[in-house]
Amino acid sequence: MSVPVRRLLALPEWAGTVRVMAGAEGLDRTVALPRPVSDLSPEHTVGAGELVVATGPMPQGDWRIDALLRRVADAAGAGVLLPATALLEGTRRLADRLAVPLLTATSEPLDLLVAARLLLAEPELDRAELVLATHRALGERPRPPEEVVTALATVLRAPVALLDDGGTPVAGELRDPGLVRVAEPVPQRVALDDGVLLAHPVPLPSAPRPALWLATELRGAAAERAESVPQALAVAAGAAQRWLLTHRLELERDARARSALLGDLLRIDGEPGDDLRRRAADAGWRLGGWHVGIRIGTTSAVDNVARGAEVTRALRAVDIDAIVVEHGDGWTAWITVDEEPTATRVRALGKRLRAAHHELRATMGAHMGVGRPHAGPDGLAATVAEASDAARLAATRPESGTFLHVDQLGMAQLLLEWTRTDTFEPAARALLAPLRGQPGDLVRTLATYLDAESSITETAAVLGVHRNTVAARIERVERELGVDLRHRDERLALHLACRTVTLADS
């Protein structure tokens, strides 16, 4: 910590007793260390930022004052404080020339020294107090994020929030949480208009990115404490990490139990035993009723234990209350209803699932498969198996948006089997040749359009373009090929050709 010489002059102990005799131009020199010297011996080596406080009696007009001024100037020292003494004109001129503040004091120089040192030590004392207070407030017991945030906000007297790895608050609130650069896993300090934003990462061992960030905004007068707060944040980040680790352990244990239970259920043949029923009931899973299986596959890089909650959230967002189990590289989920769902309801469900899938794809490379409704405990295994097959297929079909519903799947599988012959492919290519090289990706549009049961709306949704664009492209396809897509034979031939060409090209 350092302050300008000017700041010391404002100390109550200094004001009125210390006079600036010369070198006023140097009053903005920074004082890092006020040091006492008992005499002016040339042996004393001046350090950078040193304010030399001479405590002994001062021989009048001593040339060593001049030599000391020079050493202070050469060492980027702060200045010289002498007991009150008559100074030579030449000495004062030299202080002016070197811009080294030359001060004299009528009060005890050691008292002035102590006052200056206390001022310089203030930030360190403040910091130590803050760290201790944070430690006392958070203790050693793991606390949930809300408690960590509230306790820290009380200690810091500033808003505090715990952010997830996307920068969104998990607990607490900040005005500008988005300013935290979550991609840089180091403590951060971001200047605000009226203060500073401080953030400290909360890492999990061996994870490449911090799972959480602890951040606070110091605005207005609070910004003065920007030097002291980071250490307190670090202590609180430790508390958040303890909670994270404990919570993670519970999650892992829970995930393993659920995964094992699901495995047992998928393997049953006929009626489940009492023990299995009990375990399912304890987990809150209903085995009776109708089940619709959902499989969400990801890559092994995705931490499916930590991000299970995200999947549940995404499904809830589209009003689907599903059981989600971490299973292999991804999740297996299902919904259970009392009555057999009607075709309309199944279609509506598929639509909502597609929306949820779209949401999940934004943050992870997920593909989704959905099974048909099946009843009873063995129905659960059946629909999950269908969903798994569909998901595997969806992963290889970007044209369906890596989403497949088994209702659409039976036909596709059939087509695939038919077209896997060497003679069909050249014929298919010849059929679609006029569309090649045309602007607007006509082959893909046509394939998607036919996959989507000639629905302009769904084709637009899958391709992510406007429905008018789709309609215009389909018109062009009909024109280029000289076909009428309302004709079922032509539709079938083209659908087969599209599938073959896309598969062969992918």
């Binding site: 011996s41 040339p42 021989p59 009048q60 007009g61 040339w63 060593r64 001049d66 030599a67 000391l68 001024l69 020079r70 050493r71 100037a73 030579l88 004109e89 030449g90 001129r93 030299l94 020339r97 070197l98």
Partner: protein
């Protein structure tokens, strides 16, 4: 080599420079020398180099001690040289064959020549200081370990004192007390030194050196530039500027006695505006430029009138004077590590290492 009337101005200028601001004003001594030269056989004094003398030649060092300012007001009666030399001859039982000066810097660079003319003795081109020195215990014989005793003093009131024994410091103290209680100044003569011993305990060639220096400075003319002045004197010009401040104060005393007066001079350099500070006692002892020590005793520090190049002594330098400050190299005797402690800054109570030209 002979020194006659025509040499007096150059000699005066040279010894004044070597006085380093001290050594006393040469005007009265030069007037006396002129009178004695007029009376002397051939109007000149013989100046002999130490090496040209037979080694057994007995050389008596002689000079004036005490308040040199009083000397100009209270002129010698005329018998002081003879009385001092006679006293030391009687005490030691040896006849003086030649004279030399105890201190080339200042009036003692001129006055012993008058004594030599008066006593019809030849004069040796050597002295015991090589410059101006404030104390007897700093003389080269003391620094070389020969001691000073015995010492004979003759003051203008007629008193003659012989100090038979004592350390150089004791003799210095006793001589000061004697002078305070008598006429303020006295002629001092030391026991004869054999010419063969001079190279080990004196500074050789100083009178001819001073004469030479004086001639070169006179030849440099009025208001020489820094380069010309440095070339003429073989020294370094520390500043050309105007005296900003002269401050006198009492220096630290010893054993309860007050010390010599201390003082500081600050000169503002015309070209760089840097501040050259001189610390002085009877001589200029230390020079700082902007707080950094740039020159010190035993080198000679001289303050010259900017225009006339006449050296200005410590007690007459005044605020506002246009000056040149000059550093001249010390005599080799004083840079010899065996002798150096006697003249380094700490010998004057100045807490600094020597900073010398070479």
């Amino acid at each position: 080599m002979r020194i006659d009337l025509a040499d007096v101005p150059a000699l005066e200028r040279g010894v004044s420079l070597l006085g380093s601001g001290g050594g006393g004003d040469t005007v009265t001594a030069a007037a006396l020398l002129r009178r004695w030269l007029a009376d002397a056989a051939g109007g000149a004094v013989r100046l002999t180099a130490a090496r040209d003398l037979p080694p057994g030649t007995r050389v008596v060092p002689l000079g004036l001690v005490g308040a040199t300012a009083v000397f100009t007001e209270k002129l010698p009666g005329g018998g002081e040289f003879r009385a001092a030399v006679a006293a030391i001859e009687r005490w030691t039982g040896e006849r003086a064959d030649a004279l030399m000066s105890i201190e080339v810097g200042g009036l003692n660079g001129v006055l012993p020549l008058a004594a030599a003319a008066d006593l019809r003795l030849s004069y040796v081109d050597a002295d015991l200081s090589g410059r101006g020195l404030p104390r007897l215990d700093q003389l080269s014989v003391a620094a070389a370990g020969r001691g000073l005793a015995p010492v004979a003093l003759a003051e203008p009131g007629g008193q003659v004192l012989v100090l038979a024994d004592g350390t150089p410091a004791e003799i210095e103290r006793t001589v000061r007390s004697f002078l305070t209680g008598s006429g303020g100044w006295a002629v001092l003569a030391l026991a004869p030194i054999l010419a063969g011993d001079l190279p080990g305990c004196s500074v050789l060639g100083t009178t001819s050196g001073a004469l030479d220096l004086g001639r070169r400075v006179l030849a440099a003319g009025e208001s020489p530039g820094a380069d010309r002045l440095a070339a003429a004197t073989g020294g370094r010009v520390l500043t050309l500027g105007r005296v900003l401040e002269v401050a006198h104060r009492m220096g630290p005393g010893e054993h309860g006695r007050p010390g010599f007066g201390r003082g500081s001079v600050t000169v503002t350099d015309h070209a760089t505006r840097s501040l050259l500070r001189l610390e002085m006692e009877n001589e200029y002892l230390l020079a700082l430029r902007d707080g950094e020590v740039v020159a010190s005793t035993p080198d000679v520090l001289a303050v010259l009138d900017r225009r006339t190049c006449v050296p200005i002594s410590t007690e007459v330098l005044r605020h506002g004077t246009e000056v040149a400050v000059l550093q001249l190299p010390a005599a080799g005797f004083w840079t010899d590590p065996r002798h150096a402690p006697a003249l380094r800054p700490r010998a004057y109570g100045i807490d600094s290492d020597p900073v010398l030209l070479r």
